[in-house]
């Protein structure tokens, strides 16, 4: 955090980053669809505040910080005045001092306590290390401890009673601290500050839970007579103040102007070249990313690559290791970093990165959060991360305070990527997304009312957040877990409710990956429950640091996968099916040729088999079956159904209609994600009858096929009743309120999808509009692209709007 150590702008005439940027622009001009240069910014400083404790002051000076950035000073003033604040400034702008300084001051002067919450344990450890450095520099004598699942039992009492700063995570607060608040009485009585860093990661289900945990925290603080000030930090999102206010339940002041200096930033939007114009097939983004990374590493620049999946991390790592780490005697230049690696392995990689030993790191979103890995020069994104906010957060990983940095966003063939890359202004001018939470989601709220009732009895007119929860208390009394006595509601069950509530709403129990090569038994990785079915099936190639392991046996109940080293020249990719059943219509909109509904659905996801794909050529070299339990979910959805008569009259056969529905679903899914400002994975899509009797997928021949619940293929014409629907569902158990906005914007979604398909340059359909089709489709007698357009047009209320959106197609329709 020194202000002086780095070179000053303009000092070196030929900066290697500028040189690389110029070379890429010159050599690959046709691939670059947009660019942006953010010029270097000088810092805005303020002197250390007058009211700052002398000890803290000298600690800062000794650490090379004789003054503060303006946002740090502003945060100091607001927090000291008792305002809740949310600080939204870029990566590496010295955010942590915004909270560390007022917290340390209060600890030094009044023995006041602070609680820090980070979304992950790794970040907690980083934070304690940072506090310790400042603490030692000033000999402040403050005690900062982590309190999480790893804290040994005999150390816990010391943390509770002696810690000035307790660093924990929302899960631990929820299960380990609040239900035992009397043990923390002294801590809560003196609690002056609550720090919530990485606030933007508390979105969706997790965020809705965390907002309720905060309600419980405030309730407990009130009991002990304290009213802590909240200091929140967030990456750039559209609604930091709104989200912070939902978390704090009170007015929050937003600090959004960074006073930190930053070096010049260059951003290139890169579209891989078209290699098959007929099919609209472009070179893979992977090939472009490795090319750019090779240039960067050869120039001696430190770079980071973000990939969208763990699998892609491993594939990219292998390709780059094949180039740069051929000599096993030399230390590795290329490293992979992702969830699933053991903590010690990740700490070692982080350390190597800080030391500069690694030239290129390939990561999933795991490195998006504030894990300290030092500064890098080049950041390459393999595919659009799905949101504007995440894109900037990742690009922020490259950039030193006083030197230029380069970011390259390489588009994949996914529709969203292609939309972004062809409309560079959309991204470059876009405001980042809203982080949505729904703390009033009934089941989540009910969970936390139960937990809160266990912690302290409810009084008749107590509010929980905004809500008067009387009806819920009565319900819990009916359930037999609460007992009403006059004005009070008391917990009476012999259970510990927080234990059965997971904030992340993923099922309990990670899988461990055990290497049994050479008769050994060594745990080499952990995989969370939700991604286990698609990565750890028997026969799967599971990769760690680009070393392939084959899964020999999977013990589903025991949550263990036994793997052994292999030399396979292929990787595996799971094939999944989604069955969907409508449980209840909430609302329905009848149109001329279609109806649109919103309601509750039951979804069963089955991982049915897998493909073996050869490295480099990416040819499909075989299939395997997977026998795993189905993954179930209840959620809400919006769905579009064509009137049976329209369907029969306008499509010569059901096969053609089916291809149209699948193509329409593909396009609608992608534009809906953009409309809702959420990520594509927040939504799911399905085509089926809504009764779980049959569902449609694109088969291995590239054509739509329908299957029954047993996964057996059915002939579309043999079905008595044929009413396919396109479903877009909220991809979280119980839903987090995404399907209502889907229903509200039903028309816009269909029109956007029409426009996207119409604007696509391909002839019959491609991955950028209606999904991949195979060459043989061209001779099937009809264009799946026009079938999809036809379906979309019937979904519109206003056919003339459809025609306007998409003139070539309107000819086909009339």
């Amino acid at each position: 955090m020194s202000l002086t150590a780095e070179t000053l702008p303009g000092e070196s005439a030929v900066d290697p980053v500028r040189e690389l940027t110029a070379r890429l622009k010159q050599k690959y001009q046709s691939r670059i669809t947009g660019e942006l240069t953010i010029s270097a910014k000088t810092g805005v400083y303020e002197p250390l505040p007058q009211d700052m404790d002398q000890r803290l002051r000298s600690a800062l000076v000794r650490r090379g910080m004789p003054q503060l950035y303006s946002h740090q000073a502003q945060s100091w003033r607001s927090v000291r005045a008792g305002d809740h604040v949310v600080v939204v400034t870029p990566t590496a702008s010295g955010k942590t001092l915004c909270y560390n300084l007022p917290v340390m001051q209060a600890a030094l002067q009044d023995q006041a306590k602070a609680l820090y919450l980070f979304p992950t344990k790794a970040l907690s450890q980083d934070q304690v290390a940072e506090i310790t450095e400042l603490n030692q520099a000033g000999d402040l004598g403050l005690r900062a401890f982590t309190f999480d699942g790893d804290t040994p039992g005999d150390a816990r009492k010391a943390v509770r009673t002696r810690g000035d700063i307790v660093v924990s995570n929302p899960d631990m607060l929820h299960q380990g601290i609040l239900p035992h608040h009397t043990k923390w009485a002294q801590f809560f009585e003196n609690l002056r500050y609550v720090v919530i860093d990485e606030m933007h990661s508390y979105r969706g289900v997790f965020g809705s839970h965390v907002a309720n945990v905060m309600r419980r925290l405030r309730r407990i603080c009130e009991f002990y007579g304290s009213k802590p000030v909240f200091i929140l930090c967030s990456a750039t999102i559209a609604n930091p103040r709104e989200l912070a206010m939902q978390m704090v339940g009170d007015e929050v002041m937003a600090i959004t102007q960074s006073g930190a200096p930053s070096g010049e930033k260059n951003l290139l939007l890169w579209n891989p070249p078209v290699i098959n114009p007929d099919l609209g097939i472009r070179a893979s983004s992977r090939s472009q990313v490795t090319r750019i990374a090779r240039y960067a590493v050869k120039k001696g620049l430190k770079s980071i690559i973000f990939a969208q999946s763990r699998l892609m991390v491993e594939v990219l790592t292998k390709y780059l290791k094949d180039v740069f780490d051929k000599d096993p005697r030399k230390p590795a230049k290329v490293a992979a970093y992702r969830g699933g690696y053991l903590p010690t392995q990740r700490r070692a990689t982080e350390k190597q990165l800080r030391k500069g030993g690694i030239h290129c790191v390939i990561s999933t979103s795991a490195l998006e959060l504030g894990v300290d890995i030092g500064a890098l020069d080049v950041c390459v994104l393999n595919g659009y991360p799905g949101t504007v906010a995440a894109t900037w957060q990742r690009l922020g990983r490259a950039g030193r305070r006083h030197r230029p940095a380069l970011g390259v966003l390489v588009a994949s063939s996914l529709p969203l990527d292609q939309y972004i890359i062809r409309n560079p202004d959309f991204f470059l001018g876009a405001s980042p997304e809203h982080a949505r939470i729904d703390p009033e989601q009934l089941l989540i709220l009910l969970d936390h009312v139960r937990c809160a009732a266990f912690e302290l009895p409810f009084k008749q007119n107590d509010k929980f957040g905004q809500q008067n929860v009387l009806e819920m208390l009565e319900y819990l009394q009916q359930e037999g877990v609460l007992h009403q006595e006059k004005e009070h509601w008391h917990w009476t069950a012999d259970s510990y409710p927080a234990n059965s509530v997971s904030l992340r709403s993923v099922a309990e129990g990670n899988f461990v990956v055990i290497d049994i090569s050479q008769g050994g038994k060594q745990v080499i990785a952990e995989v969370d429950f939700s991604s286990a079915p698609e990565t750890l099936y028997e026969g799967a190639i599971y990769m760690i640091q680009a070393n392939p392991y084959q899964v020999e046996t999977l013990d589903w109940e025991g949550r263990k996968a036994f793997v052994s080293r292999t030399r396979a020249d292929y990787y595996t990719d799971a094939i999944d099916y989604t069955k969907l059943k409508i449980l209840e219509d909430f609302e329905r909109h009848e149109q001329a040729q279609a109806s649109v509904s919103q309601g509750e659905v039951h979804i069963v996801r089955r991982i049915a088999g897998y493909k073996k794909i050869r490295y480099y050529t990416h040819e499909n070299i075989g299939f395997g079956n997977i026998n795993l339990p189905d993954q179930e979910m209840h959620t809400t959805a919006t769905w579009w159904t064509l009137n049976p008569s329209t369907l029969e009259e306008n499509f010569p056969n059901r096969q053609q209609a089916l291809d149209g529905f699948l193509g329409a679903a593909y396009a609608m899914h992608h534009v809906a994600a953009l409309r809702l400002m959420s990520e594509t994975r927040d939504l799911g899509r399905a085509v089926g009858d809504g009764d779980a009797k049959w569902f449609a997928t694109v088969g291995s021949n590239g054509r739509g096929t329908i299957k029954n619940t047993e996964g057996e293929e059915l002939a579309p014409n043999a079905q008595g009743r044929f009413r396919p629907s396109v479903f877009l569902y909220d991809n979280y158990p119980g839903g987090v309120g995404l399907s209502s906005p889907l229903f509200a914007q039903r028309e816009a979604i269909v029109l956007d999808a029409l426009a996207m398909v119409a604007q696509c340059e391909c002839a019959h359909g491609c991955p950028s509009c209606i999904g991949p089709i195979l060459a043989s489709d061209e001779v099937r007698g009809y264009s799946p692209k026009s079938a999809a357009t036809q379906v979309l047009a019937f979904f519109c209320v206003d056919r003339s709007a459809a025609s306007a959106a998409n003139s070539p197609i309107s000819l086909a329709l009339n």
Binding site: Y475, V481, H490, S500
Partner: protein, 395 residues
């Protein structure tokens, strides 16, 4: 749709995803009717009469009973409480009048702030009598009054006695006191938790070390028609909600016997520690207890009474005690026996003995050879052979 039915539908459909319905009580506890709140005074009075106590404040019942110390509990005469405690050095000088026996009945075993003690049993010695007092609450609102009654009693106690109270009852009551803004004094008091000495003596001998097992096996006391403590939460709730007092009376009886057993367990455990061989206790563990507390003579005496039945660990202790006393012949005998069973540690002891005390380097070398290969073994063999040569030179 009404919220309650909406929640029920949603929860059913969400199934295992949220786990929201996993904490409902057992089906046989019916939820109370919130609007049929009557004055409970009459009901409580009836309960108090049946239990032999009285209502001292709204919802708070006090039951006082006395028992002569000359009476027996199983085969134990209660006056044994006046003997010195043999199983805890820290409590040897405590007088019988200093004890406060206590045991709670709670709404659950989960711990945390949502668990409540609805019954607290206390016992103390007054003259030639054991006084047993129980507080029972019949409403959440009476808890504070109960805690206020309890506070001075705990405050003036000089030594708490419980069974598993250090881990369960005391922290639970501490939490309850804190929730009501009262200051508890459990942490600073001497606290004799009988579970731990009982476990030390019988862990290897019994299936479990619950209080009820010690009653059967040590006190020769069998409860009749006992309502197990695990049914306590349900018993209280069914009184609270429906006014059924039968089970709650059973719990009061259960709690009463818990207190009496605590009293009787002190002399019984002392006997087990004094003569473990007679009371089928783990002789080795008890001897180790004496040895740790510096009473080698007692440790030796205990072991010698049942030398033929000792396990390896106990035999090692016995040999060590002989070595301290320089009773070499006895120590060697044990070590040899163990070494012939392949015990490396004993071989090492023998090698050291022959080198330093017996000055028999042949034997010392022989036993050194038995050690596992490694630096230690080489060093020892080398040292012994050097000593052997020096010995020859001296001749």
């Amino acid at each position: 749709m009404k919220l309650a039915s909406r929640l029920s539908t949603l929860k059913k459909q969400a199934g295992a995803v949220t786990g929201a319905n996993s904490t409902a009580l057992k089906a046989n506890v019916k939820p109370s009717e919130p609007n049929k709140k009557k004055n409970n005074w009459g009901k409580d009075k009836h309960f108090a009469e049946r239990a032999g106590g009285r209502v001292i404040a709204p919802g708070l019942i006090k039951i006082d009973r006395r028992l002569s110390l000359t009476s027996t509990h199983g085969s134990v005469v209660l006056s044994g409480i006046r003997q010195r405690v043999a199983f805890s050095v820290a409590h040897q000088d405590v007088q019988a009048e200093d004890y406060l026996f206590f045991d709670t009945e709670t709404t659950g075993l989960a711990g945390g702030t949502g668990t409540l003690a609805f019954m607290v049993g206390l016992g103390w010695i007054e003259g030639n009598e054991l006084c047993i007092r129980q507080y029972v609450i019949s409403a959440f609102s009476a808890e504070e009054a109960m805690l206020e009654e309890l506070q001075p009693i705990f405050e003036s106690a000089r030594c708490l006695v419980s069974f598993n109270g250090k881990s369960f009852d005391a922290p639970l009551l501490t939490t309850r006191f804190q929730l009501k803004g009262l200051i508890p004094s459990f942490e600073s008091k001497p606290h004799l938790d009988l579970l731990h000495p009982l476990r030390r003596a019988y862990r290897q001998r019994w299936d479990n070390c619950r209080l009820i097992s010690s009653e059967e096996k040590l006190l020769n006391f069998r409860r009749e028609n006992d309502l197990p403590g695990a049914e306590a939460p349900e018993a209280w709730l069914s009184y609270l909600r429906e006014g059924h007092m039968h089970k709650l009376l059973g719990i009061a009886e259960h709690n009463y016997w818990d207190i009496v057993s605590l009293v009787a367990l002190i002399p019984a455990l002392s006997q087990s520690y004094q003569t473990p061989e007679i009371f089928a206790a783990d002789v080795g563990a008890i001897a180790a207890f004496y040895a740790q507390n510096g009473d080698r003579a007692k440790a030796l005496a205990v072991l010698e009474t049942s030398q033929s039945e000792l396990d390896h660990k106990a035999l090692h202790l016995l040999a060590r005690l002989y070595r301290y006393k320089k009773c070499w012949a006895e120590a060697i005998l044990i070590w040899r026996g163990l070494a012939s069973d392949g015990c490396v540690q004993s071989a090492e002891h023998l090698s050291k003995y022959y080198e330093h005390v017996g000055k028999d380097y042949q034997q010392a070398s022989l036993y050194a050879q038995c050690l596992p290969t490694g630096i230690e073994r080489e060093r020892r063999i080398q040292r012994v052979s050097q000593a052997m040569q020096q010995g020859r030179l001296a001749f």
